[in-house]
């Protein structure tokens, strides 16, 4: 017994080395997914963020047809990068609404003039309150809302060109 016990510290040490090594070599996943995927959209009403688009309320997202809810901001660079993909989705017949985070109307107007405007409605979330209620942790993010107003999918980060077919598939699944 005593002889075996002598090895315990070494075994413990090796176990720790193994633990740390696995932590070091495991790819780092820092993406925080919303816990609301699969649940209904929290209720909200937001004022209009742009001059030529109406305001947005959660009730307007349960229309019987799945649609996209894009979380963006005029100050966000990847949001400008995903603009062509959103435009392509719009041209494919997808309804897209948006929430602009910590933004101001003149900035949103300028952003839309520069990058195009694929949105039907844009709500202004000046203090990230709705973003928190959605469990969204950054910009850009895109939620697929099914016809009944449930969150079917959350896309974190910008939509790349090769994500577009996947988004279209998921929209089809959500209907």
């Amino acid at each position: 017994m005593r002889k075996l016990l002598i090895w315990a510290p070494l075994v413990l040490f090796l176990a720790f080395v193994g633990l740390f090594a696995s932590g070091l070599f495991q790819p780092d996943d820092r993406v925080i997914h919303s816990r609301l995927v699969g649940q209904s959209l929290p209720a909200f009403t937001l004022p209009a963020a742009a001059s030529d688009r109406p305001a947005l309320a959660s009730t307007q997202l349960a229309t019987g047809k799945p649609r996209l809810l894009n979380i963006f901001a005029s100050w966000c660079v990847p949001c400008a990068a995903e603009a062509p993909q959103l435009m392509a989705l719009k041209q494919a017949g997808v309804d897209i609404d948006a929430i602009a985070i910590r933004d101001a109307r003149p900035d949103v107007d300028a952003f839309l003039r520069r990058n195009g405007n694929p949105y039907a409605r844009i709500g202004l979330d000046a203090r990230s309150g709705v973003q928190m209620a959605l469990g969204s942790s950054g910009v850009p993010e895109t939620f697929i809302i099914d016809g009944k107003g449930r969150i079917a999918y959350q896309h974190i980060g910008d939509i790349r060109a090769d994500d577009v077919p996947m988004i279209l598939d998921r929209l089809k699944d959500a209907s």
Partner: protein
């Protein structure tokens, strides 16, 4: 000279105007007047993790979203909401990840049991020592 200076200043002002001049949320960096409420809010903010700077609490982080979260927490505390209710609201959005306070979830049982186990081990060792001394 004055004209040149005015022109110079006008040109310098352009990059500033091109940025969003959105002020921080009203209660992001302002204390609640009621000290007891502020203590509650501060204690909660120190155990809520920032979503942008993931190894900081929102009390420490300068990220704009952390400011918005601080403001949200202070406003809710002022409306009389309990800190633990706000924590569970956040956990229902972001998962246990968002809170630094360990929960009673089964995966954490070893964590809660560790002090008892270590104490037990210590007592066992102590007993052995005392017995050996007694035999001498």
């Amino acid at each position: 000279m004055k004209l040149i200076l005015a022109l110079f200043l006008a040109l310098m002002a352009v990059p500033v105007a091109a940025q969003t001049a959105l002020p921080p949320a009203p209660w992001a960096d302002r204390q609640i007047p009621d000290a007891a409420q502020e203590r509650k809010a501060k204690a909660l903010m120190e155990t809520i993790r920032c979503l942008t700077c993931q190894s900081q609490s929102i009390a420490d982080s300068g990220a704009s979203m952390a400011g918005d979260m601080r403001s949200e927490i202070r406003e809710r505390i002022m409306q009389g909401e309990q800190p633990e209710a706000i924590r569970s609201w956040l956990i229902s959005r972001y998962g246990d990840w968002v809170s630094y306070e360990p929960t009673a979830a089964p995966i954490l049982w070893p964590l809660w049991a560790a002090p008892l186990l270590l104490l037990g081990l210590g007592l066992l060792l102590l007993r052995g020592r005392i017995r050996r001394k007694g035999q001498k």
